[in-house]
């Protein structure tokens, strides 16, 4: 086995960021994720698609242990981030979440100023030595999220006063500010209009240069546009996982095909 891996690497030329094996999630008696194994590559956008309720969000939330905040959720399986088990007892979920950032379906800026929203993560993790460094981080993050030009004159205004698309980019800036290695996005565009959506999509494409991005989406066009790898979930199981182009043009599983052609929805 050990000899195999370098060879495999050479072919894909990308590092594996997340290696998930035989994952199961239960909410009380509900079996929400059934024996899923997925590899998430570095500097790649991986899309999770599937009909609603199939467990995409649940699986995504396993990757930064957000399911820990749900009392009835029980997570099983191995989740290796850079080869280390994130569910190991020695791993602090709080620190893990600084490394694996998350953007939610509905924009959820804090009831604070735009500046404080972005500075929130750097402040709690002590990433800035002084005010000017913090200013720098805030500006850099807002620029990366492609919203700097729109808000640079009103950094003290409340983040909740922005439009939906701006709020979502602010949330992305906020997530980026903590310098995560992986960015998880749960339907980041479902509450946005088409223009804001295309802005966020462009942004995701840029983020790929630095991060590994995992995006849940219910829009197949979006998955096709932004992702390199696609995983198709159905009823809690991973049906198919592969290159996005292959999934959309030449799916191996009949269920994938019927979902993509609109017969399961």
């Amino acid at each position: 086995m050990n000899d195999m891996r370098p060879a495999e690497r050479a072919v894909t030329t990308k590092d594996i960021k997340f290696e998930c094996r035989n994952c199961d999630v239960y909410y009380g008696d509900t079996h929400a994720i059934k024996d899923v194994s997925v590899d998430v590559e570095d500097k790649t956008v991986t899309a999770f698609i599937g009909p609603s309720g199939c467990g995409k969000s649940t699986f995504l939330r396993c990757l930064n242990r957000m399911n820990d905040t749900i009392d009835i959720a029980r997570v099983e399986g191995t989740y290796l981030l850079d080869g280390e088990d994130i569910y190991d007892k020695r791993v602090d979920p709080v620190q893990l979440r600084a490394k694996v950032g998350m953007v939610f379906q509905k924009p959820n800026p804090f009831p604070k100023s735009i500046y404080d929203n972005v500075a929130y993560g750097p402040r709690i993790h002590g990433l800035a030595k002084n005010k000017s460094q913090l200013d720098e981080i805030v500006e850099k993050s807002l620029r990366r999220a492609a919203i700097w030009e729109e808000v640079k004159d009103r950094l003290a205004a409340p983040g909740t006063g922005l439009s939906g698309g701006q709020q979502q980019r602010l949330c992305i800036a906020r997530a980026v500010a903590t310098e995560p290695e992986v960015l998880l996005m749960d339907e980041p565009c479902s509450a946005l209009d088409p223009i804001a959506t295309s802005q966020v999509e462009e942004l995701i494409d840029e983020l790929r240069e630095n991060y590994s991005v995992v995006i849940v989406t219910h829009s197949m066009q979006q998955a096709a546009r932004v992702s390199q790898k696609t995983a198709f979930f159905h009823l809690g199981s991973l049906v198919e996982f592969g290159q996005t182009g292959q999934i959309f043009t030449n799916p191996k599983d009949p269920r994938t095909e019927s979902y993509i052609t609109g017969r399961i929805g």
Binding site: M66, V94, R97, K99, M102, F104, G121
Partner: protein, 490 residues
């Protein structure tokens, strides 16, 4: 006929009307519900409303007007020699009323025959004796004018009651018949009932508003009366509270400042106890406690809110006071003279307010959307960081509102102060001294043989007005703060 029975009969008429009206509409539609404009129950309700509402309105108006009429009719019978001043006249009228009641009860109990009770020439001494024997409360010897007035009073009341009964019943039946006549198949019963319900709700709302207006007006008039007798400047800026009880209008000093200071000081101590404890309890309950813990702890905290304040007062007097005294009193630090003190009342009042603050804050914290917490956890914040930096700021306007509400309860609290803080009005900074508050003084000025025309009694209304303005201001401030933060954050 007792009012109770009258009400029952009207209700019975309404029920009968409901059934008849429903049946009539069904008959008109030939038993086919689809031909009716509204559901059958609306036709019934239409009749029931028409049978009950006007009748009850008449009854209420009658009950309000009749005593006024009877009193004015009877008071003419009392010769001027019997009651000269207004106050004495009032006393005589009270005697008349008592005699009338006595006669009624005596006749009902069989101790006196109806003829004797009605005889205008009956011997007053004998009547007095008979009434006393029958166990009726008569304060003094009945005189002939009083007896006659009482008899007239009884007469008028009896006739009035009879007329009212007849009027109410007739009106109810007429309403019922009218409603039944209306109930054709195409009658829009649903709309009529809808309007009736709306009128009923408006009525309830206006009663509430009118009562408030009435209370405020009575406060205002009595306050004005007080300021006519006592200079306003002395009241608002006087540093001394020393009402004289013996001499009428003597040299009372009625300065409100010491009372306001006491109110403020005790409330401050109470809030210093209640706000941190209540808030932390709320945070624990809403953010940390397991569902099972929460299900047990929350009701238990709320039991505190159900304890009558007089019990808190006893707790202050018998437990907290002596406890504090043993630490800060002569045997301890020597700061405290007696068990009653600002500290005693403030601590106990603070305990009383804990469930108030915690319950309101808990609801408010729970109302902060989970998405806020998720956002913070998703950035790698710990639970306490999330609470401190995201949840509490988002909940702040509501929490400030809760605190101000608790403050206005503290300002209005009476029993704990009476029992825990003492009765001495004092301007002092020492929290271990006895002080008193506006509310406690209102009570003490009005209990006992108060002469309601003296400034010593009327000052209670000025105090009440001050308190009212204070709490009103506090509530307006709370609303303002809540609204301002809302604008900023949503």
């Amino acid at each position: 006929m007792p009012i109770f029975w009258l009400i029952l009969i009207v209700l019975a008429i309404a029920v009968v009307g409901y059934i008849l009206g429903r049946a009539r509409a069904m008959r008109d539609a030939g038993g086919d519900i689809r031909k009716l404009h509204s559901l059958p129950s609306y036709y019934g309700a239409n009749v029931a409303l028409k049978a009950a509402v006007p009748a009850f309105l008449l009854m209420i108006v009658w009950l309000l007007v009749q005593p006024i009429y009877v009193t004015s009719a009877v008071s003419g019978l009392i010769p001027d020699g019997e009651g000269t001043s207004r106050a004495e006249h009032g006393l005589v009228m009270a005697e008349v009323r008592r005699t009338a009641d006595g006669l009624k009860n005596a006749v009902a109990g069989g101790a006196m025959s109806e003829t004797v009770a009605r005889d205008p020439n009956a011997d007053p001494d004998e009547v007095t004796q008979r009434l006393k024997d029958a166990g009726q409360i008569i304060t003094s010897q009945i005189t002939t004018p009083v007896l006659n007035a009482a008899q007239r009073y009884r007469d008028l009341n009896a006739t009035g009651g009879l007329l009212m009964t007849a009027g109410v019943l007739i009106l109810s039946v007429i309403g019922m018949l009218w409603g039944i006549r209306e109930n054709r198949a195409d009658f829009r019963a649903r709309n009529v009932v809808e309007r009736g319900v709306r009128a009923l709700l408006i009525g309830a709302a206006s009663i509430a508003i009118l009562t408030t207006v009435g209370i405020v007006l009575s406060l205002v008039f009595n306050t004005i009366e007080f300021f006519r007798l006592y200079p306003a400047a002395d009241f608002f800026f006087g540093l001394n509270w020393a009402p004289s009880f013996s001499g009428r209008g003597g040299s009372s000093e009625l300065g409100v400042v010491p009372l306001l200071w006491g109110t403020f000081y005790i409330s401050l101590v109470a809030l210093l106890v209640a706000v941190p404890i209540g808030l932390f309890a709320a945070i624990y309950l809403s953010e940390y406690a397991s569902p099972r813990m929460r299900a047990i702890a929350k009701p238990m905290l709320e039991v505190l809110a159900g304890i009558p304040t007089i019990v808190y007062g006893l707790f202050a007097l018998l437990t907290v006071g002596p406890l504090l005294l043993s630490v800060f009193g002569k045997d301890g630090l020597g700061w405290m003279q007696a068990g009653t003190a600002v500290m005693t009342a403030g601590l106990v009042m603070g305990i009383m307010l804990i469930p108030f603050v915690s319950s309101l804050s808990d609801d408010i914290i729970n109302a902060v959307p989970q998405a806020m917490r998720d956002g913070s956890y998703g950035l790698g914040a710990t639970q306490s960081e999330t609470i401190k930096q995201v949840v509490l700021p988002a909940a702040l306007p509501g929490i400030v509102g809760a605190i101000l509400l608790a403050a206005s309860r503290a300002i209005g609290e009476t029993m704990i102060v009476v029992l825990g803080a003492g009765a001495a009005a004092r301007l002092s900074l020492n929290p271990f001294e006895a002080m008193t508050t506006v509310t406690a003084k209102i009570v003490s000025q009005l209990t006992g043989d108060a002469d309601f025309a003296s400034p010593e009694a009327l000052v209670a209304f000025a105090l009440g007005m001050t308190l009212f303005v204070l709490t009103l201001g506090l509530n307006v401030l709370a609303l303002y703060i809540v609204r301002k933060y809302r604008e900023q954050y949503e």
